[in-house]
Symmetry: C2
Subunit: 337 residues, 2 copies
């Protein structure tokens, strides 16, 4: 794969990003998402350079099942934020979709107004695979956006999969959008996700839905009361909003700002970020080690057959693991004792 | 560390275990729990030999917060099972405690009656550290117990930590004991644990507690209804029991046997075990790789300082991970491309 555009130097990237140049920022994100070895080297350098200028933001995870109205919600909240003259970056993750002009256009059009606002930057994250994966790339894209002066970062996920846990590991505040439906309120949402939420928002609280939303709000409140409180002392509020009647948005933003203020005061805000950094370092170490292992010819050659033996109960799991590791070591993982 | 007792050979272990000799079984478990390299080699051989005789059991995870009455419950259910002439092995995990004569005696006395029953075998798992860790050792202990003819295996955990997820990954049926308390019912229990439960049992449903237990039962039922159904079609029932008035125990056991019957019929029982085997193989691979890495002199020498840099935001997490891995590779993790 060749770059059609002129390849930017480290300086081009760093200066462009720090100057808040959207085009360069976009290309910098493409760089960190790239699997090409040359790109990876360059992206490490760029990230290390911009790192001192990153971090000065509030990172919001926004999730909810399809149909809950994430884009509309982000449009409304995004406009509320940009009207205050603040710079907002929106990163969307869709694990199911590969990067494609289509999905990018798709996301742009999904947030029509916001995407044209000078203070807003919208970027769909590619669903990558390689070292660090899209999740790590997303985390690095956040750093780039912050270095480009974006004070508020949204990370949007679909809210039905593993990705939430990962996003929760890279944001300050995790917002769960819920739909007031008849019957089971949590359908589709894994219980674990509720546990991570710093706030629940019931969308489409208007017209005929209004009553239902109020009832859902009460149900969630009592459901949350069944759960143990957070050590930070923060109790996740349940809110309602309507993009249609543009109600509730301001209240939601006030909650986010209150959270930041309280957690900063208590020191949880910074310590949480520190822990997230360390978590990611060890996570990346694990991924690097495993990719070395599983991409090794000997391993990839034997793995399938070993899995069959283990699955069929012919070989003990740990024994199989040891044997594979030994073959791997003998072929170039020699350890000095 | 020297063995005071005569060291058993592979044949001694295999024959003793298959003969159902409790003393040998106990020593075999000590063997798989041992961190000594020589013991580990022997234990791999023993496990591989007995593997064909393992698996023919139902594996029960039993958990609940301290004070919920796990031991008393296990006594009652255990007696119900042994009275049916079935062999029961109880493995208890206490992540907090190191193996010690004390804790072993402690657990023995905790289940006075059961521990003296000829058909029962009670064994506290040591809280180990090394490769595979106590969790993997526990899983291997299960195989040994099965090879020794135990048809029902209990794995007891404290129900407040990580261990539950691990235990859930090695059992067929996960039983969550709950206490009917005033106010927040889930205090101390992480929400994730409820999600794993195949059945909820409210203990001490007697005397003054009876009404409260009934109310708690209703609350849990509605709480569970908020959650999405399992793909297996199994809906976790909420039951009550009293060890004091010995009520509810038979009903609980009927639920377990119904679960086994249904899941066997649907094929979920076996496929779940297969997935668990594969999960453990990859889990063990990960642990082996990480222990190689973190125990490496170069890594252990640099890690602390790197963690400080990353925590302080001076170095990017992925960059730090790469640097550590490179140092590790250059010092003996050379990979053939």
């Amino acid at each position: 794969m060749r770059h059609r555009k002129k390849r930017l130097s480290k300086e081009d990237f760093v200066q462009g990003v720090l100057a808040g140049n959207k085009t360069v920022l976009g290309r910098a994100i493409t760089l960190v998402e790239s699997d090409l070895v040359e790109d990876q080297h360059l992206s490490r350098e760029v990230l290390q350079e911009i790192l001192p200028y990153s971090g000065n933001s509030i990172r919001l995870g926004i999730t909810g099942v399809p149909g809950v109205g994430k884009s509309t919600f982000i449009e409304s909240l995004g406009q509320h934020i940009t009207e205050k003259g603040k710079k907002l970056a929106v990163l969307t993750i869709d694990p199911s979709s590969q990067r494609s002009k289509g999905s990018i256009l798709g996301d742009k059009t999904r947030m029509e107004t916001l995407s044209h606002h000078p203070l807003a930057f919208i970027r769909p994250s590619a669903s990558g695979s390689s070292l660090g994966g899209v999740n790590n790339h997303t985390r690095e894209s956040v750093l780039l956006c912050e270095a480009a002066g974006y004070e508020i970062i949204f990370i949007e996920t679909v809210g039905v999969g593993q990705s939430e846990t990962t996003v929760h590991g890279m944001v300050d505040f995790f917002l769960l959008l819920m739909l007031a439906g008849a019957g089971d309120e949590l359908q589709g949402i894994k219980k674990g996700i509720m546990e991570m939420a710093d706030a629940l928002v019931i969308t489409k609280s208007d017209g005929n839905n209004f009553k239902m939303a109020k009832r859902a709000k009460a149900e969630y409140k009592s459901a949350l009361h069944l759960f143990p409180p957070s050590p930070t002392g923060w109790f996740p509020p349940v809110l309602t909003c309507s993009a249609l009647e543009s109600t509730g948005i301001q209240e939601i933003w006030e909650v986010v700002e209150k959270y930041k203020k309280d957690m900063k005061a208590k020191g949880y805000f910074d310590s949480k970020r520190q822990q997230q950094q360390l978590f990611w370092m060890h996570e990346n170490i694990r991924e690097l080690l495993e990719s070395r292992f599983y991409q090794h010819p000997i391993v990839s050659k034997r793995l399938g057959e070993v899995e069959n033996e283990v699955g069929a109960g012919k070989k003990e799991a740990f024994t199989a693991a040891q044997e594979l590791l030994q073959a791997f070591e003998e072929d170039g993982f020699s350890q000095k004792k």
